[in-house]
């Protein structure tokens, strides 16, 4: 009951004209970003953050805008998967497997609307899951002291390494690099400058927004320049949609699939380190094992379209749970959303639910509203978005670059930050070539300082005794999960990961 009344308060916050407009704008932009190969949820949200700030939006409106983009991108990714056999973003890659064969059979419209419905079911159930699970997790998190938080951060980095790359050493490298970058600036506890090399601009530390926009958005521009991939993927192809609404029998046949994969995707999303890509991957694999008795998966089976779409949207909702309740994001885009909260001086975690309930419940209510908007946009209006696929990237990518510059310049007004952003763009390009995941870097720059503060607080409380880190059963449990999460993929994960990553192409390949 308490939950329902909080939710009611949330709707009162979300149902203002400004917030409804922001949700609508976010859904629209998100669907476009998801649909266009080369722009995904993480870089899409990244280039919009600075704009949300410079427009002077408060915490709740900014979050509503950006999470609507996030949900929207999860919907939009399927459009180019189905029509072009090119995933619009990484989580949509599994949708290619059955979506494109369906389109070839002349059932593109059915595939699009069915996957729209599956997306809706997944996201809708996951939002309920968020409501029910997050407060429980908060209760556990309230038992955490600094030592447990330190272990939790370590867990996030170690499990993120397990799924985000095929090479654990490279994930560990990326995490350490991110943490190292976070150390730049004046030490908050003793006031001594660290790693600033006398450069005054660095005393405040690196602005993680600059790092995020550079790593995610600018590196994408460089990848496109490298391939001189200037034309639209849809060029020279006829995008016919045909019949837009699937027969009721098809929806009925897919309903059990959608419900099962929503649950599975949600769980995958909640797990630290696993994001929407893993959600859609395991949803598809499980459904294939479970119901594919006639070997129709991969040849245009509607269930093979519904499964990954329900799975990735549910995982997107699930990934918000640890981000909001613990302050530890499990995926690339939630890491970017964490950056938003931190920049607004809101610390996610258990206190968020007691101190800023308006932010949490307003956001959740907005997610419900956004979901209905997205359903409306993605079925009757899907034709509009297929036309956007015709925009060639030689026009799109310069706009992405310029909007990134505008956003960062708008925040700080300094050319120095722009130069740092270019540096991060080049670094991101090089690291992507070397198959080093970018998400742990972002997570490191975001969490580095609070990870260190928790370490120092824990040890100072215990008068300099380092064993305090593994002094409670809770922290031992967290360390154990962290170590298992890091070691297990070394033993069994290689096969799963290489299968999961084999389909991806280089453009738009930021794991999420």
């Amino acid at each position: 009951m308490e939950i329902l009344s909080s939710l009611g308060d949330g709707f009162a916050i979300a149902l203002t004209w400004q917030n409804l407009f922001l949700a609508l704008l976010g859904c629209f932009l998100g669907t476009i970003m998801g649909a266009l190969p080369g722009l995904g949820p993480s870089n899409g949200v990244a280039i919009l953050i600075p704009l949300a700030f410079t427009m002077g939006l408060g915490a709740t409106p900014s979050l509503i805008l950006l999470t609507s983009v996030y949900y929207g991108a999860m919907y939009g990714g399927r459009i180019s998967s189905i029509l072009l056999n090119i995933p619009g973003d990484e989580p949509a890659m599994m949708t290619c497997l059955d979506g494109h064969p369906m389109a070839k059979k002349g059932m593109a419209g059915e595939a699009l609307s069915l996957s729209g419905i599956a997306s809706f079911v997944g996201a809708f159930l996951a939002t309920w899951g968020l409501i029910l699970l997050a407060p429980q997790l908060v209760k556990i998190a309230l038992l955490f002291g600094p030592a447990e938080y330190f272990a939790l951060f370590a867990l996030a980095f170690m499990t993120l390494g397990g799924v985000s790359s095929t090479n654990q050493a490279k994930s560990a490298f990326a995490a350490a690099l991110g943490l190292g970058l976070a150390m730049i600036g004046v030490d908050t506890q003793t006031g001594v400058p660290r790693f600033t090399f006398g450069e005054v601009h660095l005393y405040d530390g690196l602005d993680f927004l600059v790092a995020i926009v550079g790593l995610f958005a600018l590196s994408e521009v460089f990848i496109f320049l490298e391939h001189r991939h200037g034309s639209s993927d849809a060029e020279g192809r006829k995008l016919s949609i045909g019949r837009l609404y699937p027969p009721a029998s098809m929806i009925k046949a897919c309903t059990p699939t959608m419900l099962r994969t929503s649950l599975l995707g949600f769980i995958a999303g909640v797990l630290p380190g696993a994001g929407a890509s893993l959600g859609s991957f395991i949803s598809y694999s499980m459904e294939k094992r479970l119901v594919d008795s006639e070997n129709t998966f991969g040849t245009g089976d509607p269930r093979g379209v519904a499964a990954p779409e329900a799975g990735n949207n549910a995982a997107a909702g699930g990934a918000l749970v640890p981000m909001l309740a613990l302050g530890v994001p499990g995926s690339g885009t939630t890491a970017v959303l964490l950056a938003v909260l931190l920049s607004l001086n809101i610390t996610p975690g258990p206190l968020l639910f007691t101190q800023n309930p308006d932010v949490v419940w307003g956001l959740i209510a907005a997610l419900f509203i956004a979901n209905f908007m997205l359903l409306a946009m993605n079925i009757p209006m899907v034709g509009l978005f297929t036309r956007i696929l015709m925009v060639p990237s030689r026009i799109l990518m310069p706009i992405v670059a310029m909007v990134s510059f505008v956003g960062i310049y708008g925040i700080s007004g300094s050319s120095f930050d722009l130069l740092v952003m270019i540096g991060f763009g080049v670094m991101g390009w090089g690291l992507r070539k070397l198959d080093v995941p970018l998400v742990p870097i972002i997570l490191g720059t975001l969490l580095g300082n609070s990870m260190e503060n928790n370490l120092r607080r824990a040890i100072t409380i215990d008068n300099g005794d380092w064993w305090t880190l593994i002094d409670s059963s809770l922290s031992i449990a967290l360390w154990a999960i962290a170590i298992i999460g890091f070691v297990l993929p070394l033993l069994i994960g290689r096969k799963v990961k290489s299968r999961m990553h084999e389909r991806r192409d280089e453009e738009g390949a930021i794991s999420d």
Partner: protein
């Protein structure tokens, strides 16, 4: 080979990071851990993972031909000039030039590139400055 060089670079980076961590001047008012300990832990992780990357390299990535690398380098130079000249030339002109360059290098014909570049510059100016009220760089002409 790329991974071996990259891993080696990681190890060197870790050593450099550890050395500059040791060089941090401690203040007389310090907590039990101090400002050096955590950076040194990070340097250790960085060094170990760099060494593992160097010893067990992945398959060689596909590096672009020299011409493509030059393309990226040229784009970086244009962006650096853009960042430096933005306050000097004003937003609209600097952005139009940079966007034209990028559009041209991504394969547009020159006329199309100029139209797209000027168009996106003006479009961004109208949406972000005139409609949303974002403060953009003002050049000598005020735009």
């Amino acid at each position: 080979m790329s991974d071996r060089i990259f891993g080696l670079f990681g190890v060197l980076l870790a050593i450099g990071f550890a050395l500059s961590a040791l060089a941090i001047e401690e203040s007389f008012l310090s907590d039990a851990v101090g400002p050096k300990a955590f950076p040194i832990i990070i340097a250790a992780v960085l060094g170990v993972s760099g060494a593992v990357i160097a010893l067990r390299p992945d398959p060689e990535p596909v590096w672009p031909a020299l011409g493509r690398l030059a393309e990226i380098a040229a784009a970086v130079v244009v962006m650096i000039f853009y960042a430096e000249l933005l306050p000097v030339m004003g937003f609209v002109i600097a952005t139009a030039v940079a966007a034209t360059y990028l559009t041209w290098r991504l394969g547009s014909a020159p006329v199309e590139a100029i139209l797209v570049g000027v168009g996106s510059s003006l479009g961004i100016y109208v949406i972000f400055h005139l409609v949303l009220g974002l403060s953009l760089a003002r050049g000598p002409w005020g735009f």
